[in-house]
């Protein structure tokens, strides 16, 4: 395997993303934005909100979306391509052709602003300049007098896809326009466009339309675009098509801000092409009764790409391509794949199996989701989880009638609040798991765009082998008055609508990683402070719940005094004596010193002041390593390293 990354020792890479090995296509996605540039697309829509007097035109909104899409893509889909084609522009540009070239232009009024490719840092910069209206960058956004021929635009896109993204599994053309009838009654132009659209369909390109209504005129798909857009995806004709147009997206007639936000949410929902994790999987409802489903992964942890090795000898830094070869340990003889034998270490030796035997050990039959029985959904404990879920949706490919049976099961499980226990083999040779299958309802966002699709979720359960024992601990059940106080605190701090909304929480370390890379790539100043939406809103917490927290803390002190008075000092000679003694001493410490601050942390009561005292006197080195470590741990700092390191870190913390 050739890849640009250093070899990773920990082979903790989870199961590979795509399982379909039968296709000759490479599992990549290419998106080309075709953005209409016309007088109406360029006329700013006034903002109705006086506080935000930003004027947004449909074209600039579209460019902002494209910019957002580009940045997101670099993080989430580093292998996938995108490009931006402006059409209806005065200027024309297509690879080495522009209006200064000799001869006829192949694609007049089409301006290929960003070529279809994995974006480079320079392209990010250029697009940002266009979005931010820097210098003369917007000169390109002047519309032509003659409207562009749609047939020409579509064929231009065809050529870009054909040459730049051959053999991609997914190729998509995003058309953003407010013109629902570009060619009026001109039959020949219309039919030329229709034919070119069919070409795209046959090439395997999906057209996705993002219509924008004009003030006083709703976008009408039936005038032109219903001849251009196809019902099904050309690559996956069996896949269920989502035909609903986004309810509010097309009617955002007036306001520029809402136009941008609806367009964003509409484009966001199509960031990634739908990829199946497994297709035509039998779902066995009972003996001799099967339907077919396809599986998708809708939640998956996005990690930053691994670091690469870079060659600096050339003009521009270049990623070195790594290749792995196998050699023997004893004399470094190259080993072919067929020579490899698998062996298990056992008793200081190897126990070997042939390749077939090895495979057979993991083989528990053909892939299947088999229902073993049903249970109330309440039987599924919160803790019974080991990984992300799989989403399944019916497919008619293997069994005609799958959809209606699936739907009946879906409705029944939802209504009766039940789950199915299933035996699940995701692919041949993958170990079977026991899983809970639960029904999920369709959910939409405030713009009416679907957030979570309707379907069934498969949650793999732990086996008995996967359950860890709870550590022993002493139980101190809180008395009612203390619970009452805490209840009030919790009631003050409900998240909006009492829901967790993942989209509000971008991954701060992932974002920071790419923010820094962007700055380095563009040779810009490094940002000073990360934007981190996962940091609690401290001020709000203090304002809303502060007083209640204080009265809870008072109650805690009261209750604790009762408890510690009742309990005799531990005198037993249990193994954990040391720890208990220390804790109770610190406990006495904590309660005897009245303090305005909330003190729960008995553990830190003792050393906290000790450390601060020594720090003031400049005698930190007199403290023991244990105290320094406790102090650092209690403030979330690393406690690794030698004493000198620890002291340095304590100083850093106290002087910050």
């Amino acid at each position: 395997m050739a890849d640009g990354n250093p070899h990773r020792e920990d082979d903790a890479v989870e199961e590979e993303e795509e399982i379909d090995e039968t296709s000759y296509r490479s599992v990549k996605d290419a998106v080309l934005f075709a953005i209409d540039v016309s007088d109406s697309m360029l006329s700013p829509r006034p903002s109705t909100d006086p506080k935000k007097p930003i004027q947004e035109s449909p074209t600039t909104a579209a460019l902002k979306c494209a910019y957002h899409f580009m940045q997101q893509r670099i993080i989430s889909n580093p292998q996938d391509m995108m490009g931006i084609l402006l059409y209806g522009t005065q200027a024309s540009k297509f690879y080495d052709e522009d209006e200064d070239s000799r001869g006829d232009l192949s694609y007049p009024n089409c301006y290929l602003f960003t070529d279809l490719d994995v974006p480079s840092a320079q392209e990010v910069k250029d697009l940002r300049a266009l979005v931010d209206d820097e210098g003369e960058s917007r000169d390109v956004l002047s519309p032509t007098n003659e409207p562009a021929s749609m047939a020409n635009v579509l064929f231009c896109a065809n050529q870009i896809f054909t040459s730049k993204a051959p053999n991609f599994l997914s190729r998509r053309l995003f058309i953003i326009t407010d013109n629902d009838n570009p060619h009026g009654d001109d039959k020949s132009l219309r039919s030329a466009a229709t034919v070119r659209a069919k070409d795209l369909y046959d090439l395997g390109v999906t057209i996705e339309l993002f219509p924008i209504s004009r003030p006083g005129h709703d976008f009408d798909n039936s005038k032109f675009y219903d001849d251009i857009i196809y019902k099904t995806s050309p690559n996956d004709p069996e896949a269920p098509a989502y035909l609903q147009s986004d309810p509010k997206a097309s009617t955002a007639a007036g306001d520029g801000i809402s136009l941008l936000s609806t367009l964003l949410s509409s484009i966001n929902s199509r960031t990634v092409p739908r990829r199946t994790h497994f297709s035509n999987m039998p779902l066995e409802l009972g003996p001799n009764f099967r339907i077919s489903v396809s599986g998708y992964i809708l939640f998956r942890r996005q990690e930053p790409a691994r670091s690469s090795f870079i060659w600096l000898g050339a003009e521009k830094p270049e990623i070195a391509q790594g290749t792995t070869a196998l050699v023997t340990d004893d004399d470094s003889r190259p080993v072919e794949k067929w020579e490899i034998r698998k062996a298990y270490k056992f008793g200081g030796d190897q126990v070997t199996f042939t390749a077939e035997e090895q495979k057979a050990l993991r083989d528990f039959g053909e892939p299947v989701i088999r229902i073993v029985g049903f249970k109330p959904i309440a039987a599924l404990p919160f803790w019974a989880n080991v990984k992300h879920p799989y989403f399944i949706y019916p497919s008619e490919e293997d069994y005609v009638g799958s959809s209606r049976v699936f739907s009946a099961l879906h409705q029944t499980l939802l209504r009766d609040k039940k789950m199915a226990l299933v035996w699940f083999i995701v692919r041949k040779g993958a170990g079977p798991v026991l899983a809970a299958m639960i029904a999920g309802e369709e959910k939409t966002d405030e713009n009416g765009v679907q957030k979570y699709p309707p379907g069934m979720w498969i949650l793999p359960l732990p086996f008995a082998d996967d359950i860890r024992q709870n550590p022993e601990t002493s139980l101190n059940v809180a008395p009612e008055p203390l619970i009452d106080q805490m209840r009030v605190v919790i009631q003050q701090l409900q998240l909006p609508k009492g829901l967790y909304e993942p989209l509000k929480y971008p991954n701060p370390s992932l974002q920071w990683h790419y923010r820094i890379l962007q700055a380095l790539a563009l040779d810009e100043d490094l940002p000073e402070k990360p934007e981190d939406k996962t940091i609690p809103k401290y001020r709000q917490i203090d304002k809303r719940a502060g007083d209640y927290v204080l009265s809870w803390a008072d109650e805690l002190d009261k209750q604790y005094a009762k408890v510690s008075a009742a309990a005799p000092r531990p005198t037993s000679t249990l193994v954990k004596r040391g720890a208990k003694d220390r804790a109770s001493e610190q406990g006495d410490d904590g309660t005897s010193k009245p303090s305005k601050k909330v003190k729960v942390e008995e553990g830190s009561g003792g050393f906290e002041e000790e450390v601060r005292k020594h720090h003031k006197k400049g005698t930190l080195s007199k403290l023991t390593v244990a105290i320094l470590k406790d102090f650092l741990t209690s403030h979330g700092r690393s406690n690794a390293g030698k004493k000198a390191d620890l002291i340095e870190r304590v100083e850093e913390f106290l002087e910050a």
Binding site: Y24, S120, N158, Q159, S191, T194, D199, D202, G204, Y225, I228, Y230, K231, L243, R301, S308, I310, W311, G313, V335, D349, V351, T352, F353, F364, I371, V372, A378, P381, F382, P389, D398, V400, R404, Q411, P432, A436, G440, W457, L461, P462, A464, D465, D466, R468, N476, I483, M486, I490, L493, Q494, P502, I516, A521, I535, P536, I541, L556, E601, G636
Partner: protein, 720 residues
């Protein structure tokens, strides 16, 4: 660390152990060894240096022990002193397991020797001491000095386990009819001995039966985080709370033992000769190779950069000539040694509360990870009091907490969900990770309870929607398939998690241990208990049969025959939303020649309108010219993806139009030209790509009309 342990197995090798009794297929000795081997390999599998064991045989032909001159100790052989057992020990022992020709030899004397061995090994150190005695109880036993022995065993805290075939065990339900009086006497003696030593006495049948139940490995409990659960910012606000807490795994996936890669060592490879070597590697050789002829295999990474002056446009560079960095889009970003941590977000360890949500409206499928528990700092009563009030308040309000968790300084934060867990004797928070914005993929799907047409009309009666009959049948079936109480406590509200064992883990574990002892036998099938949940329980299937029959009848599901799968059925869908007949328009256009820059669409369109095979052949001819030109003019691998796509489309289409021969003829031609370097030089890489992408000949499996067999297709691809 796990305790040190020393176990001595005392096995009866008497002549009578070679008999098969009560219709069993195995001899007493074989049966006994099933148990003993399982125990021994179980210990070996741990790989622990301080898990020691020894083996004593009695009623053996020879005598070999410390006290061999004493006639009381004759016919007793120490087969293995106490030590860490390794593969050679297993091989040696397994060679010696056969019934002797004598019935002489005293079990009690063997026990004395075993005690002595343990005392010599363990002295007064901390050890788990154990003696396992397996005998059919038919040999002579000398009951003298038993009380002395009992005292010694108890003194040294040795666990004594005595097992035998057909030992009476009323609890387990074993009673041997017509038992030999001597055996009955010995059984009584052994039973009282075991009981006097607070040991265990049982019948072999039970012991062997219980081997089936997988043993769940217990793992040392270790905190993965010790720090604070925080509300608010203590550095800025006096109203902030910090509760000292600790975090432990609740679930953690136990991994199956992993196989390492090996190759025959060069020495044995050359000794075996090349022909045999490949046969062995292909797994066709009957006997597995023993470990000693194998050598480890490791990966070697080499790095290449583009260099236009080098042949092939690439050249190798050394690892240490390279710097570290990352990709930003397709731009390489170099990061100097001193800036290594520049992209790491600065964080401090803590679990910080963000807010609270309603547990009722939480979607359980958002759990992303294994789960953990969070408890108050141990031995800190005030902390546990504080956390308890938090847990109870969450419980009473039916809330979950959402928190930002950083386990160590400068580690990436994750968002976690915290749920209260209150049991009579245990309180804790349960924790599972939630997705970030980037982790959510929005794939959209049509609704399941209604159909929305192209024009936006909502339809509730449709072939993809269930009618009332189907809904009713489903309802009844689901009810009839309700899993009854699976819990011992009769608690129907729980899942059978405790009875489900990881099939792969335990099957591999069992197979490795089996192969260690029986290197030439095929691996055994998985134990039935591992596949217990692979099907619904029999009685449930029976009970629900009539509901299932009804459901099958009303749902009218039809399997699609494999032949009709594919694109033909979707012709209908290949129209734009308006339903406009684009083919008619295309017809007017009169595309006669496939243009190279729009080849794929025009090829497909030509085929869809082809009225006879000649037109198909003509289209393929044109395509093949286009493809060959692409190959010829490809700079290096520049056009290979386009070629692959063209071939793939041709192959798919010609399978769908049932004209496999046309494709096959073309591919044979192409291969010939590629390998003869007639298309612009060395094109072996392209041929490799064609093989990798499985674009070979269409065989009979893929198209009934093909004349190429699967073997021929394979042969065609493998030939270089």
């Amino acid at each position: 660390m796990a305790d040190k342990e020393a176990t001595v197995y005392i096995v009866d090798f008497g002549k009578s152990m070679g008999e098969r009794r009560h219709g069993r297929e195995v001899t007493d000795l074989e049966w006994a060894m099933q148990y003993v081997w399982d125990r021994i390999t179980g210990t070996v599998a741990t790989g622990r240096k301080m898990a020691l064991l020894g083996v004593i045989g009695f009623r053996t032909d020879d005598t070999s022990n410390e006290l061999e001159d004493d006639p009381d100790y004759s016919h007793i052989s120490v087969l293995s002193g106490i030590k860490q057992f390794l593969m050679p020990d297993i091989r040696e022992l397994s060679d010696r397991i056969k019934p002797s020709k004598t019935n002489k030899g005293d079990a009690i004397s063997a026990l004395v020797l075993a005690i002595q061995m343990i005392i010599t090994q363990c002295k007064k150190l901390k050890y788990k001491r154990r003696i396992v005695l397996v005998t059919n109880g038919e040999g002579p036993m000398n009951p003298d000095n038993l009380s002395e022995i009992t005292k010694k065993i108890k003194e040294d805290d040795i666990e004594l386990i005595i097992l035998g075939p057909d030992f009476d065990d009323p609890e387990y339900g074993v009673k041997e009819e017509d038992k030999d009086p001597r055996k009955a006497e010995n059984e009584a003696l052994l039973r009282s001995l075991a009981e006097d030593c607070d040991g265990a006495y049982g019948t072999l049948e039970q012991a062997v039966a219980e081997l089936e139940i997988p043993r769940v490995k217990s793992t040392r409990i270790m905190a993965t985080f010790k720090g604070h659960l925080q509300l608010g910012n203590p550095a800025e606000y006096d109203t902030a709370v910090r509760i000292p807490v600790e975090r432990y795994y609740r679930t953690y996936v136990a991994k199956a033992p992993s196989a390492s890669q090996f190759a025959l060592s060069t020495e044995s490879a050359s000794r075996q000769g090349k022909g045999e070597l490949s046969a062995a590697a292909a797994g066709t050789q009957e006997s597995p190779i023993d470990g000693s002829s194998l050598t480890g295999v490791r990966n070697i990474r080499t790095y290449q950069i583009t260099d236009d002056t080098a042949p092939g446009g690439k050249r190798d560079v050394e690892r240490d000539e390279l710097a570290k960095g990352y990709e930003y889009g397709r731009t390489a970003v170099y990061i100097s040694e001193t800036d290594q941590n520049i992209t790491i977000l600065e964080t401090y360890a803590a679990i910080e509360l963000l807010g609270f949500i309603q547990s009722e409206t939480y979607d359980r499928y958002m759990h992303m990870s294994t789960t953990n528990i969070i408890i108050a700092q141990r031995a800190n009563d005030k902390a546990s009091l504080a956390l308890s009030s938090f847990i109870h308040a969450l419980f009473e309000l039916e809330c979950y907490a959402v928190a930002r968790m950083v386990l160590k300084e400068n580690k990436a934060p994750v968002i976690v969900l915290l749920a209260p867990s209150i049991e009579p004797d245990y309180e804790c928070l349960l924790e599972a990770q939630l997705p970030f914005a980037e982790d959510v993929r929005t794939y959209r799907f049509p609704p399941l309870d209604r159909v929305i047409t192209v024009s936006g009309k909502v339809v509730t009666q449709h072939r993809n929607l269930p009618n009332d009959d189907l809904l009713d049948a489903m309802d009844k079936y689901v009810q009839s398939m309700e899993l009854a109480d699976t819990d011992e406590n009769g608690d129907s509200e729980s899942l059978p998690i405790d009875d489900s064992f990881s099939p792969v883990l335990h099957r591999i574990d069992a197979a490795v241990r089996h192969r260690a002892i029986h290197p030439r036998d095929p691996a055994p099938p998985p134990a039935p208990i591992l596949t217990k949940f692979s099907h619904p329980p029999q009685e449930l299937v029976k009970k629900s049969k009539k509901h299932l029959d009804k459901l099958i009848a009303v749902s009218d599901v039809k399997k699609v025959p494999p032949k009709t799968k594919g694109r033909k059925r979707t012709r209908e869908a290949e129209k734009p939303l308006s339903g406009l007949d684009v083919d008619a328009l295309l017809h007017q256009e009169k595309r006669t020649k496939i243009s190279p820059n729009n080849a794929i669409p025009e090829f497909k369109q030509t085929l869809s309108q082809a009225e006879n095979i000649e037109i198909v052949k003509e289209a393929v001819q044109q395509m093949s010219t286009i493809i060959q030109n692409q190959v010829k003019h490809s700079l290096g691998d520049a056009n290979y993806d386009r070629v692959t796509e063209g071939l793939g489309v041709m192959r798919e289409e010609l399978i769908a139009y049932e004209e496999p021969a046309v494709y096959n003829d073309f591919l044979k031609q192409l291969k010939n030209k590629l390998l003869k370097e007639e298309l612009g030089g060395d094109r072996r890489e392209l041929w490799w790509l064609i093989r990798k992408n499985k674009l070979g000949l269409i065989d009979q499996q893929q198209s009934e009309r093909s004349e190429v067999t699967e073997e021929e297709a394979k042969e065609f691809m493998s030939a270089k």
